[in-house]
Structures are given as C-alpha cells and as structure tokens.
Symmetry: C2
C-alpha cells in the first residue's frame, strides 16, 4: 500500500462542494458559517481524517507559537528542572516548547539552531556552553531577527538577553567555606586555569585564594586531559574520578577540593573512598548545582545550589517579551544568587 497523500482543506471543500475558505473557517472557529454547513464540514473532517497542515498555516500566519530550547548535558538533573520551568512558563502563555539536545560539539549546537530556525520557532533559548563557532552562528541568527535569550552562556550580543546564576560568587563562597574550615591546600577539579575566563566558578576559586594570600598552585587545578573538540570542559563523573586520582598522587595532595559540579564531586568522592581516605576528615569536598543525588551520597555533599527554576522562568519571560514586542530593546542581564548548602562532605554535624 502506497502512503497516501495528506488530506487537505481543498479535498474536504471539493467533496462538499464548498470553498476551501469555508472549511478553514469551520476548522479555526472564526468567521460566519451556518450551523448546517459547519456540521457537514466537521463530519467530513472526521470521516476523511483531515488534520490541518501546520507548516502551511505557519507560513501564512508568520508565527508558530513555538519556542526552541537548546540544552547541553540533558543527563544533568538541573537541565531537566530548567526545561520544565521554561515549559511551564511558556505553556501558560500558550506557547509550545521544542527541546534540542546538543551534548557534544559545536556542530551539534549549530545543527540545533538551524533546525529550530528552519521550523520558524518564534524564539530560541540557548542553554549550552559557549563555543566560538556556535556563537558566530548565533549572531547570524540574531541578526536575522530571531528573538534569542541565553541561559548561563557567556555570550554578549546586542538584543540578546542573558540569565545566569552568579557562578563567580558561588565559586567564591564554596572556596571561602573550605578556608573557613581551616583548609589551605585546596584543589579544583573540572577545568584548567587557562579557562578560568569562561568558567566563573574557577575564577571565584582563584579570587578567594588571592584574597587570602594563598598561592594558586597550578598542580592543584585539574581539568580533563583531552578536551572534547569544540566544547570546552565537558564534565562528567569520570572526570571527577580521574581528577581526584591525579590530585591524590601528588607528593603533597590537597586537603579539600572544590569540584565544578556535583557529578564531578561525586566522581571525586568515589576516588577518595577507593584510596581508603575518609570524607571530610582527610578530604573535604564541595560540589556545585545541588542535584537530587547530592543528598543521597555518603556522606551527603556540600554544594552550591543554583536557582534553576527561576532561571528558566526568567528566560522564558524575557523571550516572550521579545517575541511580543515590536521593539527591539536593549540587552538585559539577570544574574541570580546562589546558596551554599553545607552537608557532611565538608563538616561532620551532630
């Protein structure tokens, strides 16, 4: 059996001997149609299994009531939270959300942008990490009058709003907490010093050490050996594990570690436990994000909570405003506070 052609408005119209416009009016519930005609049309719609072709409709209407969200690292629970917050906010304004994943490379980033633009979404929220090629394409997209908002992406461009957690202060507080506990040799796992520009959490770490006149020891800052092409510092549990192994093998290992995120911290914990050391006595560990798993590790993980829901909501709102406005207003930026959550991976309680 050959796949049948899609049933169109005109097919229905032809069958009933009415104008396509009449059918359109019934389907869209606007304009005047007699009760009798309406029913004949609805009947035919059902019988012939007609469904409106959204592409054609969108082409005519010049809007789709759909927004795209580009997510990296969908496995990270906070991505899920973000996506849900965005979706809920959009939903309440009658917009749909399409999510694209771009987990590994700039190429994927770009493909995601392109396919969203291709489908004429009304706006795009980008929540992947910066990369040069991706940024370039993003600028092109913005220039072609597509409303864009970025979350936590280091991307500055006129007309593109920006939401992020205050990673700098977050990193500062995490490290300060370790110093308050008396630690002086503090490691960082998850990025190299040279990337501190793009990774604010690392910059926060550096700032604290500087503020306390502690020398930043390059050997204590460990990223992954081979960077994945195009995306700086893609992070996993394995990275944390390997990073900690490396730190522990130093002649003079740190007594505390700040990991770029909770997965990395959890990987690091595994390495510490394997080496027979105790947390937090021999090694204190701080993560970042406060994923659900952080409360279930043993010991539970001290971490910095970032307000993912709020970031999602704000981003959605900013985007909706840009979509609605005929105005192309100036770039807005919102940086949200983080909160240090102290658990037993740094201090024993009770």
């Amino acid at each position: 059996m050959v796949r049948k052609r899609q049933v169109t408005l005109s097919d229905i119209a032809a069958t009933l001997g009415v104008a396509p416009m009449t059918v359109s009016r019934v389907v869209n519930r606007n304009g005047y149609v007699s009760e009798e005609t309406r029913e004949r049309v609805l009947h035919a719609v059902k019988a012939m299994n007609y469904r409106p072709n959204g592409v054609a409709r969108n082409l005519k209407r010049q809007r789709t009531e759909t927004v795209g969200l580009v997510l990296g690292d969908i496995s990270n629970p906070y991505s899920a939270e973000l996506a849900n917050a965005v979706r809920e906010r959009l939903w309440s304004s009658g917009y749909n959300l399409f999510i694209c994943i771009s987990e590994h490379s700039a190429t994927e980033d770009i493909t995601a942008f392109e396919s969203l633009v291709d489908h004429n979404v009304d706006g795009i929220i980008v929540a992947t990490r910066s990369n040069e090629e991706g940024d370039e394409h993003l600028r092109d997209i913005v220039d072609s009058h597509m409303p864009v908002v970025v979350i936590g992406r280091d991307f500055q461009y006129d007309g593109v709003d920006h939401v992020s957690a205050d990673n700098l202060t977050g990193g500062f507080e995490a490290t300060q907490h370790l110093i308050d506990l008396g630690h002086r040799r503090i490691g960082f796992i998850g990025a190299d010093l040279k990337n501190r520009g793009s990774l604010k959490r690392l910059q926060g770490y550096v700032n604290v050490l500087n503020a306390h006149d502690i020398e930043v020891d390059e050997r204590l800052v460990t990223g992954r050996k081979e960077a994945i092409s195009g995306v700086p510092g893609y992070s996993t549990e394995k990275m944390g594990y390997e990073g900690m192994k490396r730190l522990l093998s130093l002649p003079n290992p740190p007594t505390a570690v700040f990991a770029r995120n909770d997965f990395t911290a959890i990987g690091a914990m595994t390495a510490v436990k394997e080496s027979g050391l105790s947390i937090p006595n021999d090694m204190a560990i701080v993560g970042f994000d406060d994923i659900p798993m952080a409360t279930h590790t043993s010991p539970p993980l001290t971490t910095v909570r970032q307000p993912m829901r709020l970031q999602g909501q704000l981003a959605a709102e900013m985007l909706l405003r840009r979509i609605g406005d005929e105005e192309t207003s100036k770039r807005k930026e919102r940086v949200l506070n983080c909160e240090l959550i102290i658990r037993e991976s740094t201090v024993l309680t009770g």
Copy 2:
C-alpha cells in the same frame, strides 16, 4: 525600531536583478549557476543576512527531516539516556530531533502530539505512559499517515511499532530475588493492585507470589493516594517515602519491598532509615531502572536494569524504516530483556 521583515529569496533576487530561482540554486547548490553569479549571490546572502525559510521549503518539499520525541518525566535519568540514544541514531541518518515534554497530564500529551504534527515532523516517537484520551488522539494521528513508534507505552494499533523492556519478567525476577533470600512478606510501592494490567512490573510481582503460593496481601501494595488526573501512577521519590511510611505503620509490616522504580526505592530507603531500621537486615529493597544514583545510595540499591539505549536505538530505526518505506508494513514489537543488578540493599556482600 520595528522588527524587520524576514529577508527572502526574492529580496536577494530583486537586489541583484536575477530570478529567485537562481538564488535558490545557489543556496541549495544544485542546478547550473555561473561562478560569477554564484559569488554575487553568496555575497548578497551574507550582506543582507538572508536565511532560508525552512517552513516554506518544507511546505514545498513535503518533508522536514525532523522527528519528534514525546517524553514524560524528563527528570528521570533514563529518559535522558533514551533521548540521547534516539538522537544519535537519527543524527547518523541526517534527521533532527525535537523533544516535547509531557510530564503531567493527557492534555500535555495531546498538545505535544499536535504541535509536532503541526510542524510536519516526519515521524513521532512516543515514550509517555498510556492514557485514554492520549491514545485516542494518537490513533487519529496514525490514521492521518504519520509514522509513529511507541516506547514502553501500552498502545496497540495497526502500523505502530512498539519497543519496550520486559517489565513483566523484570518484576518477576526482582520479586523472585527477594523470595530466594527468604522473604515471604514482600511489599510493592508505586501502584495499586487494580492497575496491574497497565503496570507489568506489578503484574510480575503478583505472578511470583502466586507461583510460590504466597497470598497477595492488598495492604502490602501501595500506590499514591490521589492519582494525578489523566495519568495513572506518576512516580516520584516522595511517593516512595510515603508508601514506605504507610507500610511501616502496618501491624505486620513487610520485610522486603519492590519499588516501581529507583526514585521510589530511594524515597522508601529514606523512610526506612528515618525509622531507625537497617537496610537490608530489617528491610530489603529492590528498585527498577538502574539510574546512576542507584550505585551511590547507602547502601547501594539492588535494581533491575533496563536497556534504555537499545530501546532508543531500536525505536529510531523502526521509525526511520517507516518513514523511508512507502510500504505500511505490519506492526512490529520488540520486548527487550532486563537484568537484575544485585547490590547491598538486599544482600550484604563481603
């Protein structure tokens, strides 16, 4: 500043004094264009910031090279794994993936279907739980010649392929494992007995008890008190926590529990620990899914691993075949084996 109209092929053509078709040929790299014209066009495309309107192109071409995936419960790590597997398989065939989330209700399910259909995706993969209204819409969509594949959704309809884990056997093995350990009073958390038809894991539990002539005690099977409208048995950590509280308050509580998924199991563990009992000595717990967190709980969680990646890959392949084929072949079904992963929430090792 008023938002500018999108730049079109014809704008470029008009500027250069050529036919729109010539521009189209340059942009799509097909047909004959002189080197000189090509360069003039490319230059103008760049200068005027032209991007092709995918909607219009799709309308003409009658395909979008995009597939939709409807996911429930995106917070569950296995959803992420599934989505990634689907995406990778599609990517290698040149297809893009749009993900829609439908977390709470049949209405969301339906909206997701509609918006994907509206955007003329070439096919849809559905990985949400069954519900009557959603199924009805799904049938309509299938009838309108949209290729559809379902993952783990109890939906039987001609021409709709189906992939799932063998939840029945999985539930069987999980419960059998507890019986092998000597347990006779075994609870189930996450659904009510009356829903066992749609929840194969629960049916597996019932089957084992029957096979061992153990009476199925209705009080030991506990779902959530108020079901969320439209979606049977939406599951969370909280549900596991509350379920376990309820079981522990029984005059004769169970000595082991099989939870419908790992989150539920983890919630249940929290309740057990709070009441001062020990796992697995006073209470053995088995989950389902083998999410990453399962290895990090204390004690690590015994669970049933389902092959999410494989399910995603297969679903994508089945869908691609349906998209490619002009044939509308018969419904195919693949049920994949699960694997019991024994950890210390049921047996102390070493």
